[in-house]
């Protein structure tokens, strides 16, 4: 069996390759958003694409989130396959009317007449000392909305492989790229391509406890698992990958094996995605549990600027590990 040679790549480059591949494969695909063209993307994801594909397909927009997100919806209904980049999740608040009242409702409200094959990408998360207005994790809010699909690539393979299937989907798909992941580096097989956008994935097997995470908290969970392994505790790490619709089966199967679960979520605890996952475990696997499901979420404060306070507000591997040891009665 021949193995495709692996090549070193960053998460940012994997994302760019995915966009480039989509642009090459389908003339209906175009990218629009703030500074995606001449600037190369606020986070450098689309660097070089303007030069390669031109201003018709790599469209710099005015700072008009509602207009260009809504235009993405209209263009999708008009037969295109738009990729809309909202610079960060914080700015999607200015486009919520379009996301919620149009993207999420028109298919249903029209009795199934219109598909909305639209992808909206946005950076999410904290950790870079950019304070309260630029550090939100609102995936949980958006995952509340029927009619949307939400993806959170946490690996190079997902950064490379989720966009294609998202564009093929006839529904609006939101892709959340955690800011701390862009410089993640590793190897991908040269032929790496589409991945499934339906199932959660087990990133590390283990029999003692399930750590459930997504996006930026996947590395947190993996670090905690590594730390716990040193203490003889085998933690399984489940990466949700798809935040709506949630893949209950993978979660429940894991918890049924480990009998314990900790959900790690950079969103605020109250009304969080972690709360939803926890409720589903209670509903579907209550009698499998040896301990109550617990959550490690962000502290319920607007994100403070100083590094020590920001780090104290965010889910940390040591806190996850301590939570597990407490559950296991070894803390």
């Amino acid at each position: 069996m021949s193995v495709a040679p692996a090549k070193a790549i960053t998460y940012r480059e994997a994302m760019r390759e995915a966009i480039r591949e989509a642009l090459l494969a389908d003339g209906r695909v175009f990218l629009m958003g703030e500074d995606v063209g001449a600037y190369g993307g606020c986070f450098g994801v689309s660097k070089g694409l303007l030069e390669e594909f031109g201003p018709e397909r790599i469209r710099d927009t005015p700072l008009s989130e509602s207009a260009f997100v809504g235009a993405g919806i209209g263009a999708a209904m008009g037969g295109m396959r738009p990729i809309v980049e909202v610079m960060t999740v914080n700015f999607c608040l200015l486009a919520l009317d379009q996301i919620m009242n149009n993207a999420a409702t028109i298919t249903h409200m029209s009795g199934g007449q219109f598909a909305i094959p639209l992808v909206i990408r946005m950076t999410t998360g904290a950790g870079r000392q950019v304070a309260a207005q630029h550090s939100h994790s609102l995936e949980g809010w958006l995952a509340h909305i029927p009619g949307l699909k939400l993806l959170a690539p946490a690996t190079l393979a997902d950064a490379r492989g989720m966009l294609g299937p998202a564009l093929d989907d006839p529904n609006p798909v939101l892709i959340f790229e955690h800011g701390s992941l862009y410089n993640l580096e590793g190897e991908l097989p040269a032929g790496a391509g589409a991945v499934d956008i339906e199932r959660a994935a087990t990133r590390r097997p283990g029999g003692d406890v399930t750590l459930i995470a997504y996006g930026g908290t996947v590395p947190t969970a993996l670090s905690a698992a590594e730390e716990l392994a040193g203490a003889g505790i085998e933690a399984e790490v489940v990466d949700l990958r798809v935040l709506r619709p949630l893949d209950d089966r993978t979660i429940i199967e894991s918890v049924a094996r480990t009998h314990r679960a900790v959900v790690i979520d950079e969103g605020w605890r109250s009304g969080s995605l972690a709360a939803e996952v926890s409720a589903r475990i209670m509903e579907q696997a209550f009698y499998e549990l040896d301990a109550p499901v617990t959550r490690v979420c962000s502290a319920e404060v607007p994100m403070p600027y100083p590094r020590h306070l920001e780090q104290a507000a965010l889910p940390q591997p040591a806190v996850v590990a301590a939570e597990v040891r407490r559950m296991m009665g070894t803390g």
């Binding site: 509602s66 809504g70 209209g74 999708a76 008009g78 009795g111 009619g147």
Partner: protein, 328 residues
């Protein structure tokens, strides 16, 4: 061609017929609302018919329409079947949106009727996107976007005027200025009440027209549509009109005087056109009787269709949240 009003008899009769259809259809809707056959929010277009009827004359079947929650008239004139509109308001499967939308959310892919948008200003970005799709696919189509004066105060209006202008998109912005944002008079919420002047600041052609005069509306919108279609840029037309009925069926209409309403009724577009046609010798009493008879029959048929329609089984409640099948 009549020397006095500048239109053919056939066309004059058609304009009158369309305005009468919308008027009579909605008068029947009021009865059906009172009889609790139609529920929810319902917003009547009575008084404003000249706008939709005049404007639609300028559009081709390939053009797209984005409308507001006050869109019964637009759907009817565009060619969505009266039966499917009535069935929609009855919440029946045979409705133009399978009953899922109701009065405010009429949709019809076959006539490129993209709603039925009930968030003020929310339809404008969709129209910009539909026009962008046409431009990127090199189709010479117009997207006509209807919205009210209230939408001009929304951020989305300004964002969309700017985006359509800077990208030179084929959007025909049609502002139905009925002088009230629900119950707030335009002088009380706009710093500049000349809406065409406001729009013109975005470097696009903008003008105002008497929205109670169907012939004037048609002429203005034809001119604007031609500029959009051939000139590769958006246009804005303000249509000055007035609604004779309350904002919605819930509105006690306390914010304006009866005198004001009566004064505007003197400009009712239907008697106005009838009088013009009659004066030009293009319309007889027999014509009017025939139109009324045909329209009454069409509406009775629509009601019968809606009455005979079926309610969707509750088991299908969660259908259409996601699109069924691959995107076209």
């Amino acid at each position: 061609m009549s020397a006095t009003i500048g239109i053919e008899r056939e066309h004059g009769l058609e304009l009158l017929r369309q305005m009468l259809r919308v008027r009579r259809f909605e008068e029947k809707c009021v009865e059906l609302y009172s009889a609790t056959k139609i529920r929810g929010f319902m917003h009547l277009y009575i008084g404003e018919e000249a706008v939709a009827v005049g404007a639609m004359q300028a559009l081709t079947p390939e053009d797209a329409i984005v409308a507001t929650y006050r869109e019964h008239g637009h759907a009817l004139v565009r060619g969505v079947s009266p039966g499917s509109i009535m069935a929609e308001m009855y919440g029946k499967v045979e409705g133009c949106a399978r009953g899922r939308g109701g009065s405010m959310h009429l949709f019809d892919a076959a006539t490129r009727f993209y709603g039925g948008n009930a968030i003020v200003g929310g339809g404008l970005p969709l129209a910009v996107g539909l026009a962008l799709a046409d431009k990127l696919q090199a189709r010479r189509r117009v997207t006509a976007c209807f919205f009210g004066d209230g939408a001009v105060a929304e951020g989305e209006f300004h964002e969309c005027m700017n985006l359509a202008a800077v990208w030179r998109l084929p959007v025909l912005f049609l502002c139905e200025n009925n002088r009230y944002a629900m119950g707030t008079a335009i002088e009380r919420y706009e710093s500049e009440t000349d809406l065409a002047l406001k729009a013109a600041s975005y470097e696009l052609t903008a003008w105002s027209v008497d929205g109670m005069d169907v012939i004037a509306v048609e002429e203005a919108v034809r001119r604007a549509a031609a500029e959009v279609r051939d000139g590769d840029r958006p246009c804005f037309v303000e249509l000055r009109t007035y609604r004779f009925r309350a904002h919605s069926m819930y509105d006690p209409d306390l914010y304006r005087t009866k005198d004001e309403i009566e004064r505007w009724k003197e400009h009712d577009p239907i008697p106005a056109l009838s009088a013009q046609l009659q004066a030009a010798g293009l319309l007889s009493d027999a014509d009017v009787e025939r139109l009324e008879r045909e329209i009454a029959r069409e509406i009775e048929d629509a009601i019968a269709f809606a009455e005979a329609g079926t309610l969707e089984p509750v088991e299908e409640l969660e259908r259409f949240v996601y699109f069924e099948g691959a995107a076209p």
